[in-house]
Amino acid sequence: MTDWVKGILAGVVGVDVWGFLPVLGRAIIWAGTLCLPRARREIRRREWGAELESYDDRRVSGLVWAICLLGVCAWERATTPIQLRPRTRAEIGAALRTDGAILLVGWGLRLSTVLVEAVVPVVLLALIVLWLSIAIVPPPLATFGPALIVSECVLCQASVGVLQRWQLLVRRRKRPRPTTGSARFYALCPGTLLASSAHPGLFLIGVVSLVVCIGVYVGNVLGFNIELRHRRTRLGRLRGFHFLIDAMLLLATVSVVVAVS
């Protein structure tokens, strides 16, 4: 992880927490593997413990990775064949019920692993943006002023940059994933809702944006690959949908300015 991101994170969560993250990751792996049979448990702890070392310079990513492994543990437990020893009928029934429940939960978590991997960083980012906006903007402005929307836009644009850098540098991708674009909406919408809560019309715009954006985001995560036509602007190649959201934000800003003045 680059120094500037590490510095920001250290400032936000504290240096002690930064050093504690790998321990927390190991604890999560240790706890998650408890559901596995003993032989697999030891293998998994050793394997994932070794690979967690790869995240030493990307500790937040390592923590997210360890959380995502919980789904794999549950899936592996659910798909490991069970061998029933001779038991009473009641014991066999209880064991089957337990394994059935684990099977259902395991497959549910397994399916959600993909979503968690994509959503957790984005939700964290949106929460940070929301928290920053509340902490930075004074209460009177936070309630009525257009300054909140302006600061939201600035913060959201910055968060998109951070998210893309996170994918390019921290996760070492050659380019951001297509879903990155939709992540922007997650970062934008909480601020838009908060800012527009003083005006019913703007609030409606925020709600519609949120619903559409979540739909697009989930669709992209599920592989439907929703996209609109690209269009070329002075700023470069932007997706039409992003342009639409920007236009809605601009409209919201102008509306609030007019209403307040």
Binding site: E51, E117, R171, T180, R237
Partner: protein, 109 residues
């Protein structure tokens, strides 16, 4: 055969004798860094992969031993067939490129 399995096959078949560890495959194949273990487990259970521990002690390596995955002869054969018959289910699209400085040079209009 899922997309992840095909991605793993395509990477490993570039050098069939080479051993890979999980995160290395995930990053090279752009596969979810957690979901890859489910795919590797399925392939190992099917006899397509063989797992072993890295040779050398942790003190020699300077880190813990990694668990390495290698294609078995059956895996090489099945991987070849899978790649030959593979038809992508989702069309890969270029990234959105929101920021001008981050627009990939190879992106399409």
């Amino acid at each position: 055969v899922t997309d992840n399995v095909v991605a793993i096959f395509s990477l490993m078949l570039e050098e069939p004798g080479r051993s890979w560890y999980g995160l290395e495959l995930a990053e090279a194949g752009e596969i979810g860094s957690a979901t890859i273990y489910a795919a590797l487990t399925r392939m190992e259970r099917a006899g397509l992969l063989r797992a072993s521990w890295e040779t050398g002690t942790p003190s020699q390596l300077g880190r813990p031993q990694r668990r390495l995955y290698t294609l078995t002869p059956e895996g090489i054969r099945a991987g070849g067939e899978a790649l030959a018959n593979y038809r992508p289910r989702v069309r890969v699209s270029p990234s959105p490129g929101i920021l001008p400085g981050l627009v990939p040079s190879g992106g399409s209009a």
